[in-house]
Every structure is written in structure tokens, then in C-alpha cells.
């Protein structure tokens, strides 16, 4: 506190809303993300409707691998909720366990995805091969970037749980990261049927 000015801190909970800034911020961010991915889905619909021939997803893509990946991501959504619950219960060891599991599942998803992409490249299938593959690579690629973003935030939280476990905002940060991770999961739940099954 200085002598001439009583400097106020940035408050973290809205007086009129009762919601933390972090939670409000992450929901606003997710709103913009919804617009981003719905634009890609709209693009997919427009291109598909305007196209004379559009391949069935299961003829081109690896459906079993995609199914496994769907299960992997859904499981990781469960573990991230468990991590959040453990953070509320103040059980650091279990929080770290579930957060590590979430990260491991995310990494597994990327490995399987990479393997799938590798198969396509091996078969001479590239984004420039057809408009379907262009949509497939762009949409799954952008989704994979979001998974990587989630992995980074989750890892940072895992690391911060060492030193900042008692920080008043820690639980809120876990919640925000969890919301984002769910969003990434939900996007995949739309991507999987749209690209593989329809």
C-alpha cells in the first residue's frame, strides 16, 4: 500500500453476478469457440450439399480407430470431473492421479490420431486429394490443436498443484480447465459421426 493512493486489488467475484471472472471468461471463450467450430460444420454441410459425389465416411476413414478414440476422450471427460471433485475435497494425491490420467488419455488420443493420419499419408491420401479429405484433415487438425491446448493447461495445473494448491483461485482454475476439456470432447462427439458415420 503506497502513501498517496490506496490501490485496490482486482476483485475476482462479480458483486452482482456471484460468478468468478475466470468462470465467466471461460464461458465467453467457449461461446466464441462454438462459433468457430459451427462455422466449420456449416462449411462441411455446404460443401457436401454442393458436391456431386461425397464419399461415405466409413469407406475412407478408419471407423474402429475413431470409435476407440471417442471412448478415450469420453473417459478423459470423466477423469477431469473426478480431478475437479478431488480438488474441492482437498485431496491433493487423488487430484494429481486423476489429472495425470486425463493428460495420459489426451496424449493417447493424439497418438491414435497421428497413427490414423499416418495411415492416410501412407496410402497417398492428403488434404489436396479430395474435398472430403480436405474437410477431414482441417477439422480433425484444428480439433487436435485444441486437444494440445487442453493438454498444456492441464499439465500446468498439475504442476501448479505442487505450489499453489491452497491458492484461493486454484479450484476455479481447475473448473475452467475442465469446462474447456469438456468442450474439446463435445466437439469430437460431433466430429466423429459427421466425418466417420454419415
Amino acid at each position: 500500500m503506497s502513501s498517496e493512493a490506496a490501490v485496490m486489488d482486482v476483485p475476482h467475484v462479480g458483486a452482482s453476478t456471484g460468478v468468478t471472472n475466470a468462470k465467466l471468461g471461460i464461458w465467453l471463450f467457449l461461446a466464441s469457440e462454438v462459433m468457430l467450430f459451427s462455422t466449420l460444420f456449416t462449411t462441411y454441410i455446404v460443401l457436401r450439399l454442393g458436391s456431386s459425389s461425397w464419399p461415405r465416411g466409413w469407406n475412407v476413414l478408419n471407423v474402429p480407430l475413431g470409435t476407440v478414440n471417442t471412448l478415450v476422450l469420453i473417459t478423459s471427460s470423466v477423469t477431469v470431473v473426478m480431478a475437479y471433485a478431488k480438488a474441492i475435497e482437498r485431496k491433493r494425491g487423488q487430484f494429481r492421479l486423476f489429472m495425470s490420467l486425463t493428460i495420459a488419455l489426451g496424449v493417447l488420443f493424439l497418438i491414435l490420431k497421428g497413427f490414423e493420419w499416418g495411415q492416410h499419408f501412407h496410402n497417398g491420401e492428403f488434404p489436396s486429394t479430395s474435398i472430403f479429405l480436405a474437410a477431414y484433415f482441417t477439422m480433425t487438425g484444428l480439433h487436435a490443436l485444441h486437444v494440445i491446448g487442453g493438454l498444456i493447461t492441464n499439465s500446468i495445473l498439475l504442476w501448479l498443484s505442487e505450489t499453489q494448491w491452497d491458492h484461493p483461485l486454484f479450484i476455479g482454475r481447475v473448473e475452467a480447465a475442465g469446462l474447456y476439456w469438456h468442450f474439446v470432447d463435445i466437439v469430437w462427439i460431433f466430429l466423429f459421426p459427421a466425418l466417420y458415420l454419415l
Binding site: 461461446a31 462459433m35 482441417t138
Partner: protein
């Protein structure tokens, strides 16, 4: 949280600062520089338009031969300047000035908050914007030069033109910056208002930033997706926006096909129409602040103004295709967009009417900020009314892509937005720096700019109606345009004169920064909260806890001791 910011190093205080006021000023200096650069680009272009094929005087000798052999600019260079002028003015000039600079500085002050909700994110927004600006400008040094496909970047041309990849990457940076900024503004306005600052007590400027942020948040991602798709087309040779075979620059390009060029136009305008309101609403907010302050009476129809802004915000998402009437889109669809476009003009007129009516019965102080605010009203009116023939399909068939369109939207954003923001600069300068700008120089700047701006843009209606196409390098290539060519000369000379009239402003700005007359907390006797803290406000803004007791514009209250009561004053007797 750290409470003592007084021992910070110079770097942390002025360069890598998380204080919304420092970031606001960083935005302001960068955005004003970008506006000047964009203006210089168009001054070079105007030479070619006024005197086709004549060597550019002075500057022509300095330009490299690949851009301007013997001082005569090439078509490609002209196109680059055009694309850069549009992109810079819209995305790197006006929006960062309106939202990044004024919004950042003024919004937390007006709602009684110590800072933005996410100060570090705020800093990141600025640095992303600066990176994008540098990237965009440096694209001139790339092989093939800067992007040449206009600020709209329509494919198929944009899929092949050189420089476009740098344009897309710069845009992705500035989009990310705007998205983070929008999240920050919305969280701040929703969550960080001082006790007593209810929604209906927020100043109009805060409301305008609120609506603009919603538009930024929801309209930019589709364009971002479009940018990613165009980047894929260029880098990985997909065909999102291309048919199977395209003949381009005399070379047959074969791709996988299956894409649609029109898709880009939809994605682009889904952003770019709301963008127009992002360009216009914060300046209207500024004008409202200045008018209430200098008429010494409450704004007429505060709630109508705010509701109109919200209505405009919502409706701006369903008008975008009026930019595409001539693109081959279905006429049924065109009718829908014609109707929504006519509807959105209603709240716009309501806004302007309220502001004009606010003058009625006021005792007007004609100081420099007020002159700008007053000039905004008729100029924005001209811009708006000339837009109607473009929103109606029968007249748009004739006027589409002519200079008439350019005249129309420049009346909106130059004589409208930029005039309003100049007013805002003169109005809030004492708050920014604790000193006043010189009034005489301000008036020279005002009258010169007003006359020159009209000299530039009014002839465009004439040349446009004569059929001059907006993107031609040589305006007289269409023979029927020759009779109006002298209007192009008028327009160009006015543009160069406009530059001369900015010199007093630049001098005034920097001179006043160091030697201007010192002012007090509240030199304009204004009521909103930013005037209750010191000029410039310290870190953390307010020296005592803020509580709000009344609406934003309590001027000339009957029975009060003086003609203004600030929002944080509890009883009239204390005022």
C-alpha cells in the same frame, strides 16, 4: 495480489505493463500510427487515380523499380496499397483505436473498476495486435509484395496472389487479439462494476463497448475459420474455395475441386458486416458522452439509445449478404437480406435522432470535442442515408462496386467514426495525460479536416454514379468515366490537403503531452466516474472505494447547487 506498483522497473511500468491505462495508451499510439500509415498508402494511390500514368512526384524517386518503374506505380503495387489500406484502416486502425485504446482506458474507469478483469490477458491482446501489425506491414518486403486481393480477399484470386499468406497469418493474430480483448471487456463490464453501478446507470460509451465486444466475440470466429480454410488452400493446396479447374494468370490450375468461391464471401461478410457496427458503435458512444457533457443536459432517450444499440447488435448478424446481391446468390435470399437491412436502419435512425434531440434546449459549449461530436451527426447521417440505395437490390445492381460504395462507407467510418474519435481524443486527453490540448490548433484541425473529408468523399458519389468501378488501377480505362475524371482530381487534392491539416493535430498532440496547460480532475465538469479520479489516474484508478448513487448524465438538475452531479455523489446537498 501485489499491491505496490510504485517500485516497478521502467520496462514493467511502460512496456510490459498490465495496467489497463498503459495498455490503452499503447493501443492508442500504435493504432494512430497505423491510421497514418494507411492514410499515406491511400495518398499514393490517389496520385494514380487523379493523374493516371504520371510519375509520382518526390516519392516516386525513392520507390524501388519493381513497385514503380520510373516513378509510375505498377498495377500490382496499386492493388497492394489498396488491400493494405482497407485492411489497416479497418482491422489495425479504427477497431484498435475504438475498442483497444478508448475501451481499455475508459471502460474500467467509467464502471468504477480498478483494472480489467484479466490484466495479463489484456497485455497479451496488445502484443498480439502489435505482432500482427508488424507482420502485415513487413509483407511489403516479401517476394511478390503484399496481398493484392483487396481487404475482402475474395478467392479464387486470393488463393493465388502473392503476399496473401502473410495477410492471413496477420489476420489470425489480430483476430486472436480481438477475441481475447472481447472476453476481457465482457467479463469486466458484467462482473466488475462498482456497487450501485446498475446496468441502467452505465454510461452509453460502456454500453457501446459492451455491444461491440459481443459482436467481436461471436462474429470473428467464422472469419477465423474462413482464414484457416484459405490458408489450407494456399499452403496445403486444398480446394475449399476453388472449382476443379481454374485458369489463373494464364496458367491452368487443376485441384481436387469441390469447393465454392461464394462460401468465402459468406464467411467473410458474416464478420465484416458486424465489423461495421464495431467501427461505428463505440464512436457513437463517445459522441453521446461529449454531447451530454457539452449541452449540460441529460441525453434524450438514454434507454432508447441503449436499446437501439442492443437491437443493432443482434440484427447485425442477419444482414451480411447485402454485400453479395450481385454475387449470383438466390434472389429469394436477397429479398430476406434486403428486408433485414431496411429494418436495421430503424434503430440507427433512432440513435441519431436521440443524439440530435439531445441538443434541444441545452446550453451548448462549443469547445473542440463538441465540434467533432456535432459534425459527426450530419456526416454520419449522410453516410447512413446513402447506404439505403445499396441495401435495396434494384438500385444496388447499378451502384454495386462503384465509387459510390466507397463514398458511402467512408462517410460512415471517416467523417463518422474517425471524427468522433478525434473528438474523444480532445475530450479525454486531460484524463490521459493531465494536460489540455490547445484549442486554437484543435479548431484549425477540425475545420480543415471537415472540409477536406467532404472534398474527398462527396465527389465519389458523383464518379460512382457515373459508373466508375472501385478497384480500377486506371480510372479512365472505362471511356465513359472521362467526363467525371476532374472529380477524381478534386478528391485527390482534398486527400493531400487533409494530410496537411493533420499536422497541427500531430504537433498539438505531442506538444500538449509535455507542455499543455495542466488541468484538474474534472476540467469539463462531467458526471461520469472517470472524472472522479486524478488525471492521470494512479495504478488501481480510484483513491477511495467507489459507490454509485445515480444515473450517468445528471446535468442541470432542478434545484441543485450546480449544473452537474457526479455519479458517486450521494445527496444533492453535498453537490
Amino acid at each position: 495480489m501485489e499491491t505496490n506498483h510504485h517500485n516497478q522497473s521502467w520496462m514493467k511500468k511502460y512496456v510490459f505493463s498490465t495496467d489497463h491505462k498503459t495498455i490503452g495508451l499503447q493501443y492508442m499510439f500504435t493504432a494512430l500510427s497505423m491510421l497514418l500509415i494507411g492514410f499515406i498508402f491511400v495518398m499514393i494511390m490517389r496520385w494514380q487515380i487523379a493523374f493516371p500514368y504520371a510519375p509520382i512526384p518526390v516519392l516516386g524517386r525513392w520507390l524501388p523499380a519493381r513497385l514503380a518503374p520510373n516513378g509510375v506505380m505498377t498495377g500490382a503495387f496499386y492493388n497492394s496499397l489498396g488491400a493494405m489500406h482497407g485492411t489497416i484502416m479497418v482491422f489495425f486502425g479504427i477497431v484498435p483505436l475504438a475498442v483497444g485504446a478508448f475501451g481499455n482506458y475508459i471502460v474500467p474507469l467509467q464502471i468504477g473498476a480498478p483494472d480489467m478483469a484479466f490484466p495479463r490477458l489484456n497485455m497479451l491482446s496488445y502484443w498480439l495486435y502489435l505482432t500482427a501489425s508488424i507482420l502485415l506491414l513487413s509483407s511489403f518486403f516479401l517476394p511478390g509484395g503484399a496481398a493484392q486481393s483487396g481487404w475482402t480477399s475474395y478467392p479464387p484470386l486470393a488463393d493465388f496472389n502473392p503476399g496473401q499468406t502473410a495477410w492471413i497469418v496477420a489476420m489470425l493474430f489480430v483476430i486472436t487479439s480481438s477475441l481475447l480483448g472481447a472476453i476481457n471487456f465482457l467479463t469486466t463490464i458484467i462482473n466488475m462494476r462498482a456497487p450501485g453501478m446498475t446496468l441502467w446507470r452505465m454510461p452509453v460509451f460502456v454500453w457501446s463497448e459492451f455491444v461491440a465486444s459481443v459482436l467481436l466475440l461471436l462474429a470473428f470466429p467464422p472469419m477465423e475459420a474462413g482464414g484457416v480454410l484459405q490458408l489450407m488452400d494456399r499452403v496445403l493446396h486444398t480446394s475449399f474455395f476453388l472449382p476443379k479447374e481454374v485458369m489463373i494468370f494464364g496458367v491452368l490450375y487443376k485441384g481436387s475441386g469441390g469447393g465454392q468461391p461464394l462460401l468465402w464471401q459468406h464467411l467473410f461478410w458474416f464478420l465484416a458486416h458486424p465489423e461495421v457496427y464495431i467501427l461505428v458503435l463505440p464512436p457513437i458512444g463517445i459522441v453521446a458522452e461529449i454531447i451530454a457533457n457539452n449541452t449540460r443536459r441529460p441525453l434524450h432517450g438514454y434507454k432508447i439509445i441503449v436499446s437501439s444499440m442492443l437491437f443493432i447488435g443482434a440484427l447485425s448478424f442477419v444482414v451480411w449478404a447485402h454485400h453479395m446481391f450481385l454475387s449470383g446468390m438466390s434472389p429469394i435470399l436477397a429479398n430476406f437480406f434486403l428486408v433485414t437491412t431496411m429494418i436495421i436502419s430503424v434503430p440507427s435512425v433512432a440513435l441519431l435522432t436521440c443524439l440530435i434531440y439531445s441538443l434541444h434546449g441545452g446550453s451548448i459549449r462549443f469547445n473542440t470535442p463538441m465540434l467533432y461530436a456535432l459534425a459527426f451527426l450530419p456526416m454520419f447521417g449522410i453516410g447512413g442515408l446513402t447506404g439505403l440505395p445499396l441495401g435495396l437490390t434494384p438500385t444496388d445492381i447499378y451502384l454495386h462496386d462503384t465509387y459510390y460504395v466507397i463514398g458511402h462507407f467512408h462517410y460512415i467510418v471517416v467523417t463518422g467514426s474517425i471524427m468522433a474519435m478525434f473528438g474523444g481524443l480532445y475530450y479525454w486527453f486531460p484524463k490521459f495525460f493531465g494536460r489540455k490540448m490547445n484549442d486554437t490548433l484543435g479548431q484549425i484541425h477540425f475545420w480543415g479536416s471537415l472540409i477536406c473529408m467532404n472534398g474527398i468523399f462527396f465527389p465519389m458519389f458523383i464518379t460512382g454514379m457515373a459508373g466508375e468501378s472501385r478497384r480500377l488501377w486506371v480510372p479512365t480505362a472505362q471511356l465513359h468515366d472521362l467526363p467525371v475524371q476532374h472529380w477524381n482530381v478534386v478528391s485527390s487534392v482534398s486527400a493531400w490537403a487533409l494530410f496537411l491539416f493533420q499536422l497541427p493535430f500531430i504537433y498539438n498532440f505531442f506538444h500538449s503531452l509535455f507542455h499543455g496547460e495542466k488541468t484538474v480532475e474534472n476540467p469539463w465538469h462531467a458526471t461520469t466516474l472517470e472524472w472522479t479520479c486524478p488525471s492521470p489516474p494512479p495504478h488501481g484508478n480510484f483513491t477511495k472505494p467507489v459507490r454509485v448513487y445515480r444515473g450517468p448524465y445528471e446535468y442541470s438538475l432542478p434545484g441543485a447547487h450546480r449544473d452537474w452531479i457526479a455519479q458517486d455523489i450521494e445527496s444533492e446537498a453535498a453537490a
